[in-house]
Symmetry: C6
Subunit: 190 residues, 6 copies
């Protein structure tokens, strides 16, 4: 389907993640919205328990550095946040979309668009560190097929870059990230 092809303008609140499934790698889009509300968090798209916890860790991290990000500290009680990952019938799980979800939420809360050509993967911790994840080779190939030109990878996954076919490797810019801050640096439009 054309849906998987990256196209169109940079958008606010939407990031491109990388999934690793039984049938190979795949791109997935994290969509977020934030509207006046009472502080509810809604997670849809058949996210498993680990993925939901990952989203919550990201939100707590954001709340702990709200000041620095220029986000109103009380958004947790004046805004409703919704994170959705199409395709809604496909179960998704694991911690590897942590940095992708966290970046999407920050984009929504700061109104800064996300660069359309960037994809990313990585578990995050409550301190905003980025931890290594699996399936780098398959994920990168899927991103390549979808038209991505820049991929943010956890620094601890550096050695996995060697496994990527040379023809793909030279068409994609790899950025090794250690923190959520590094991801924002490369993913958000300034």
């Amino acid at each position: 389907y054309r849906y998987d092809i990256i196209e169109g303008e940079n958008e606010i609140g939407v990031t491109t993640g990388l999934a690793w499934t039984i049938v190979g790698g795949d791109t997935l889009f994290i969509e977020t919205t934030c509207v006046p509300g009472t502080g509810r968090l809604v997670l849809t798209g058949q996210l498993g328990e680990v993925m939901q916890e990952s989203a919550k860790a990201g939100i707590s991290y954001i709340r702990s550095i709200a000041d620095k990000l220029g986000i109103q500290e009380d958004f947790y009680k004046t805004q409703d946040l919704h994170i959705h990952i199409p395709e809604g019938a496909t179960p998704k799980d694991g911690p590897s979309a942590g940095v992708t979800m966290c970046t999407a939420i920050i984009s929504t809360l700061t109104n800064k668009p996300v660069r359309k050509n960037v994809a990313m993967t990585g578990e995050i911790t409550l301190r905003g560190k980025v931890l290594p994840v699996g399936g780098i080779r398959e994920k990168v190939l899927a991103a390549y097929r979808a038209g991505i030109t820049k991929i943010l990878l956890p620094a601890d996954n550096e050695r996995d870059i060697d496994d990527i076919p040379a023809n793909v490797r030279k068409k994609i810019e790899f950025v090794l990230i250690k923190t959520v801050d590094d991801a924002l640096e490369h993913a958000l439009v300034k």
Copy 2:
């Protein structure tokens, strides 16, 4: 039963969706009401988890563009919204009623009637995009039997129209939609 035949006046809050079951395609009616309340959402008619998430994604999308639709932004705390799909004993699931539920809710919230002769199918995302779904052939045949004359299909399902028998194809007007906006354009009475 006569119940499945489309008849009567255009109504507010009711849309016709298309389901794909083991025994073939079927039409289903999405009924919505909105009454003064405290912001509760009630989903009945044995909707599965994916379908419920789909309804929630639709509502968040609507909230994010409430202004543009002319809907009061605080309906999420001053109105109770109920989505029901008869026949209440039949389990229903999947994301393909996304655009149908979203259109029904917008009809209720804006008091604009839905055209009785229109049916639709398609997953929606949090940004209001319409994604392709399965079972187009069976769904269209069911809509045809029920007296529908115009069907809204996801743009990415364009090639599936070829599989529909020619005699049916020439009696139904197909509209390819990319967004919820496209669906509203064709389904709501202006």
Copy 3:
């Protein structure tokens, strides 16, 4: 047991429904009360998930036409509503008591008694339409045994009347209903 025999005065908040079980048809009494409260809904009598959803659809329908029925619109937050179906140890399920529950609730909220000689069956939708249900023959026989003289059936069940033994058929008045409104017309004392 004598309990199943219909007797006594017309009562407010109590209707007679018809159930279809493995061992044949049965009458069941829907009891409702409404007292000053905080808008809680209590459903007891071992009602299954579909039956509970059916009650909720009925309540939303009532709320959407509260004005027309002369019911205070804010009852959903100033009254507690309890629906109970004896015999409390017998599991009950299915959508066919929809119109019966809806009529009992309206009786309670409007203080209008229900005619003791009337029984009814039918699924309802959020718009107050009455849909056909199964087991008409067995249900009618049970109502007959219990002393019922008038039965309200979904219009789409008309053809099922032929299956009822002639001796029973001539002792009972059948009314075909298309909407909750039709049911109220025949069941409530004016």
Copy 4:
């Protein structure tokens, strides 16, 4: 154990019920307390789902006739009600303690003691009717062994009295009850 022997003064909020178990009949004590609170209902003693529903039906019935009973109508939000049935490790279920629980709660809310020599059994409906229950013979024998001298039975269980051994039958006074009101008449100290 001596615990099962009925002894001591008439108490407020405690009634004697009759259970029918695999190993025969047994007496059970319904204990209730009511303290200033926020309207919480606590049910302990391993009560099954049907028994909990039975307690809730009793409470709704009491609320609907609070005025007549001289109970403050707003107790549902100013008092916390606790119903406990020792022996806490034994699972208990079924609707037959309905009238017993209802009587205990009314005793607590009206501060009227319950006669120590009275035991009772019977399902109740939301209108305060008493429906027949099973195991009358075994229940009566257990009450007799525990020292009970007066037993309240559902009127529809009248024929079951014949099955009770004559020597027991003549030592116990049986009262056939049709309503909760009948039970209060015989169980509460005036």
Copy 5:
């Protein structure tokens, strides 16, 4: 481990209970704290459903006699109560710690220390009665090994004292209790 040896000062909010497990008797410590809060009850230490109900019955009993105990009647909404039983990985259940939990909570709420040399066992009812429990022999032996010198037993367990080895029996003072009041009399420091 030394942990099971009773030693140190009398403490507020801590009582010694007696458990009966597959591998014999064991002592267990009930720890309670009460801090300014909103009336939450937290139960930890892998307490089973019956044990949790037992704690709740104890709290309702305490609330019903708060006045007499000199406890502020509104503690249920101004204090948070936590009951914890180490060792946290071992599942615990049953009603026999009722009097032990109830005594610990009263100690916390009244600021009266519990005598270190006392252990106790017994189910409690909502009226504060103490009911007999099983495993007396094994429980007493475990208490003896832990250095306990005084054990409170339900009056209805009197005959079980005969089964305790004579050498143990003469080193421990047994007190037969009928009510929570009896337990407080012997366990709390005046």
Copy 6:
């Protein structure tokens, strides 16, 4: 992965714990944050039931000595507390991280950094006592591999130190702790 190597500055709210898994010992980092909120507690990182109860016991202990620790007594309703343990996909359970979680929370609430070279293990009770745990040998070896130089062990685990290889034992300083207070003494930067 480099992630398991202890490095960097002393941090606030982060402690190093020791886990004992099927494949040997492992270090785990307890991360905590505390932000203005409404008193919510969020636990992520696939913590099992026992571990969650352990965290709650720690928090109640902290609340009971808030005054002594210089923590605002009302943090339970003005702050949201999040405890997260990477690696988020790995299930974790058991009570042995009790002292580690408790120390991390106190660090967050008092703004005192935790010494980077210290790791610890031990169940805690509601009174702040530290109880012995299993797997000491494997845990110590894992801490050693991660670069830890000082380990806090429950006093009742003293004899387990003998099982640690001599070469490791002489490179690590062991501190036997009896209470949370002892842990704070050695883990927090003064």
